[in-house]
């Protein structure tokens, strides 16, 4: 009956006509293959709501969250609260992008294909890499896929990853590695270069999870000397100001593209950036858009090098990825084209400048120190005698959100002490900074904490 599924167009008259054309009296006659006792299960799902009811129900749920915009907010890392220009969602969420699928029919999918080709081009320029694919799921899976690719390229089964790589990436990597049973070795970044022997790749993050700047070149050199690849995890805004991975010797570059105009959305959907050197492209996972011409000689774009992919090569494919994050790639391209080089640099600079100013103020407080031992980018690690988790909870009670360093858990074991990480972006205000400094001053003095039971 029309009315149960409000998106279904079939009227009772339609259904009757369709059944009669099929030649059955009831849909049940078509279900003969299903074990009778399994047919028509009672699900126990509540009755359907109207759109208005759904809207108000979800508004109620949403109000149970404290959003990043509700108060001073310093959580960041791979996923960052950044300013999203108004034109970004207006363009990227147009129905023609949003409700299309993988461009299997390129003649009627040039919008997608050209936009993705442009994403690849923009990202390649930003990273100074030869080839960028059209997206992976996220930074974590991209890191794991980079390790797998290095294993394919080198024929080796040991992957060495720095402990200062984002902990979520390391967790995903370790989890993925259980499949092919790779050896994952976690060492501090400082020991990476000396751990290259027999490795398929060294995985380094720059700036690292704590914001520290890393000398990637030296690590890449060590990797190459040992016949390993250098995989760099990076962040897009950092690449606007820092020497890009392609100039540092990275063979594969991965990262999270969310800061490029994509909403945080509690973790996804986001954008796995994946780039490599030209020579490695046939081992690359994921879809790649390429330029060509149509029968009239008009320029057009297609998904190309598909013999790497699961739908052609099945178990011999470079990856199992099918549905990817094309819309996020298009979103990132819209963002980059709106900001341009100067806007991107400005956003990045604001984060760096505010992080440094804030770090200075915090370091001047009694019993507070910045734990980064080398120059940092737009986030830093604050160490107090209170301890990271307690400090974090004390700040939450004051309406301020920061992250404690889960990252200090290596291979599941706690190593070193817990701190908080303070991320700044162009959205960090003076008032935010003041609030944090005040609150930390109080908490570090009083040692007050919030029960965590």
């Amino acid at each position: 009956m029309v009315g149960n599924n409000p998106y279904s167009p079939h009227t009772e008259a339609d259904r009757a006509a369709m059944l009669s054309r099929i030649g059955v009296r009831d849909i049940d006659e078509l279900l003969g293959a299903i074990p009778t006792d399994a047919r028509h299960p009672k699900l126990g799902v509540a009755p359907g709501l109207s759109e208005m009811e759904v809207q108000s129900h979800l508004e109620r749920l949403a109000k149970m969250n404290t959003t990043a915009g509700d108060g001073p907010f310093f959580i960041g890392g791979a996923i960052q609260r950044r300013y999203i220009p108004a034109a970004v969602p207006v363009l990227a969420l147009r129905g023609e992008f949003l409700t299309a699928y993988t461009p299997y029919q390129p003649e009627v999918s040039q919008g997608t294909l050209q936009a993705v080709f442009e994403y690849q081009s923009l990202m390649a320029e930003l990273l100074a890499m030869d080839v960028v694919n059209s997206s992976m799921y996220d930074g974590g899976s991209a890191t794991a896929e980079a390790a797998f690719m290095a294993v394919r390229v080198t024929g080796r089964r040991k992957v060495v990853v720095a402990t200062e790589v984002d902990f979520t990436y390391r967790r995903t990597l370790r989890t993925y590695a259980r499949g092919p049973e790779l050896e994952i070795v976690e060492v501090p970044t400082a020991k990476l270069a000396s751990s290259a022997e027999g490795a398929a790749c060294l995985i380094v993050q720059h700036p690292d999870a704590f914001g520290t700047l890393i000398d990637v070149r030296q690590i890449a050199d060590a990797a190459h000397a040992a016949g390993a690849l250098c995989v760099q995890v990076t962040e897009p805004h950092a690449c606007a100001l820092l020497e890009p991975p392609g100039a540092l010797g990275a063979d594969i570059v991965v990262g999270e593209g969310q800061p490029l105009g994509i909403t945080m959305s509690y973790g996804g959907p986001h954008l796995g950036i994946f780039a490599c050197r030209e020579a490695l492209v046939r081992q690359m996972p994921g879809r790649i858009a390429g330029q060509t011409v149509d029968a009239n000689g008009t320029r057009g774009f297609v998904n190309t090098l598909q013999t790497r992919e699961q739908h052609i090569r099945r178990e011999k494919a470079t990856s199992n990825i099918c549905t990817n994050e094309a819309l996020a790639a298009i979103t990132a391209a819209v963002y980059l084209s709106l900001l341009g080089p100067e806007g991107l640099r400005a956003a990045a600079r604001a984060g760096v400048a505010r992080a440094h100013a804030l770090a200075q103020r915090l370091a001047a407080l009694p019993r507070c120190a910045i734990a980064n031992d080398r120059p940092f980018f737009d986030r830093f690690t604050l160490r107090t005698e209170v301890g990271g988790w307690d400090l974090r909870n004390g700040l939450i009670a004051r309406g301020i959100q920061v992250e404690a360093t889960a990252s200090h858990y290596v291979n599941g074991r706690r190593e070193g002490r817990d701190d908080v990480i303070v991320q700044c972006t162009e959205l960090t205000t003076e008032a935010d900074a003041d609030a944090l400094v005040d609150a930390v001053a109080q908490l570090a003095r009083s040692g007050e904490t919030v029960a965590t039971g």
Partner: protein, 504 residues
């Protein structure tokens, strides 16, 4: 049939060849910009780290960017513009309210405390329960970000399960039917398994004898899509599952075709140990020009210990947290879990949409959806049967596979027909899949296409079949009314141009 023409101006961009729309880079002029973000702050970056490589991103104004993407969007076929009967992809209508409510959760960071994300956790917890009810499984992980990642996750779970029983080393093989989607063998291989393919029988089922002889103590699992990629319900599904279980292996359910089973049957009642759900198919979330999706993994209780961590816990007072004590002072205790696939709740923004959709449909709406999907497919098949060969003659579920083998002999292949459909104003079906049907055309109308659109699609398909008999060359020459004629894919692969280069 109507043809819509729109003219876009030559905006003076220098393109090396004729083009529908210049590239961003061709539209750019040095010195242009918007003012979305600005600062006069300077960044204290040691010289050795500073970028010296040029940063040749295009410089454009917002008006240029808006026109560019508006033009590009208009070059796309999409569900919002027409019927998109891509088999196995469930291109149903994507309700707009789902996008709106998803935006309510846009400004929440995944590393926030449970204290500040009770709304997120409540929604996710309830979604898990709803998926349990719909699939007949016992537990759900929301982490996988698409079907393929869910397959991989499930195979990791299989591995951990067998390891727990001391059989990991022995069980090195995954069996897939010859109708399996490419991601199935690819996931198995990625997970370190060898892949064995078993053939289908004459009724489009797994050949049970072939399966039984492939099964053995070295088999970790069997991956089954049901209804399978022929759109057919596995007639002896319980026997299949029993056989696999008897060999000590597990049955993986590829839920890409779950739309057919909504309220019609539950995989959990049929013998599957686990099932992935493509929420971008079954639960109406937009496909985003290729993605995002989400691929929750639903499992029976015996596989629960191996699911990715963390898990959501609901306290008796109605509050929620993860299973890392009450706060994530430490990573979730792994126990037997395989680890973490995606921090916390996967593609949460997609899951919110699925949640809203299920809330909207409710029990009766879900039932109606499955039944209407089946009705539409059978109806369309009845209309097309006069002109095209049908791969397997028994009532399909939500989709069906035709063969253009006859047309191919007459001079136009499935590919040619798919292009001719573009000229008729329709997106084409999935072609050349599944692999076991020659000149396969896999058609999934979904429940949201009205009968008159199905009629119009059928009329177009019959016109094309007719034209194949009279003028196959014209069909081979299609499309003529799409934004582009056929593209040179061979050339694209032979000399790959994968990015714009200023000097190219």
């Amino acid at each position: 049939m109507t043809i819509r023409t729109q003219v876009i101006p030559d905006v003076g961009a220098k393109t090396p060849v004729p083009a529908l729309e210049p590239l961003l880079f061709e539209l750019a002029r040095p010195g242009r910009s918007g003012r979305h973000v600005r600062t006069n702050e300077t960044a204290a970056i040691p010289d050795a780290f500073q970028r010296k490589a040029p940063l040749r991103l295009p410089e454009l104004t917002e008006p240029q960017v808006v026109r560019h993407y508006t033009h590009l969007a208009q070059l796309n076929y999409s569900v919002d513009t027409g019927m998109y009967p891509l088999g196995s992809c469930t291109m149903k209508y994507n309700p707009k309210v789902n996008d709106r409510v998803a935006a309510l959760f846009a400004d929440v960071h995944p590393r926030q405390s449970y204290r500040t994300t009770q709304g997120v956790l409540a929604l996710a917890y309830e979604l898990e329960q709803m998926l349990v009810k719909i699939t007949g499984m016992d537990f759900v992980s929301l982490q996988p970000q698409a079907g393929a990642q869910s397959e991989f996750t499930a195979l990791l779970v299989f591995k951990a399960y067998h390891a727990k029983r001391g059989e990991a080393a022995q069980r090195r093989r995954i069996i897939v039917p010859d109708t399996a989607h490419g991601t199935n063998p690819a996931s198995a291989a990625m997970c370190g398994y060898e892949v064995t393919t078993v053939k289908s029988d004459a009724r489009g089922n797994v050949d049970l004898d072939a399966l039984k002889s492939a099964l053995g103590p070295d088999v970790a699992g069997f991956m089954l899509t049901n209804p399978n990629t022929l759109g057919l319900f596995e007639e002896r599904v319980r026997e299949v599952c029993d056989a696999v279980h008897a060999a000590g292996a597990l049955v993986y359910g590829d839920g890409a075709n779950m739309n057919a089973l909504l309220g019609v049957a539950r995989p959990g009642d049929l013998g599957f140990d686990c099932l992935h759900i493509n929420v971008h198919k079954t639960f109406s979330t937009p496909h985003g020009a290729g993605g995002p999706g989400a691929g929750p993994l639903c499992v029976k209780a015996h596989l629960r210990p191996f699911l990715p961590k963390p898990w959501i816990v609901r306290e008796s007072d109605g509050t929620y947290h993860y299973d890392t004590a009450r706060e994530d002072r430490a990573p979730a205790p792994l126990g037997d879990s395989i680890g973490t696939i995606k921090q916390r709740l996967g593609n949460f923004g997609v899951l919110v949409r699925a949640y809203a959709y299920i809330k909207t449909l409710g029990e009766e709406g879900l039932v109606e959806t499955g039944r209407d999907a089946i009705l539409s497919a059978n109806y369309l098949l009845a209309l097309l049967r006069p002109a095209y060969d049908v791969a397997y003659e028994r009532p399909p579920m939500h989709e069906f596979v035709l063969s253009a083998a006859k047309q191919k002999k007459q001079g136009a292949s499935a590919l040619d027909i798919s292009k001719a459909l573009l000229d008729e104003g329709f997106h084409s079906p999935t072609v050349y899949f599944p692999l076991i049907v020659p000149e396969a055309m896999m058609i999934e109308p979904t429940e949201t296409e009205p009968k008159e659109t199905l009629d119009a699609f059928a009329a177009a398909m019959l016109r094309i079949a007719e034209r194949v008999t009279t003028d196959p060359a014209a069909v081979r020459d299609a499309p003529k009314h799409a934004p582009l004629r056929r593209l040179d894919e061979v050339g694209a692969a032979r000399k790959p141009v994968l990015r714009y280069k200023a000097d190219a």
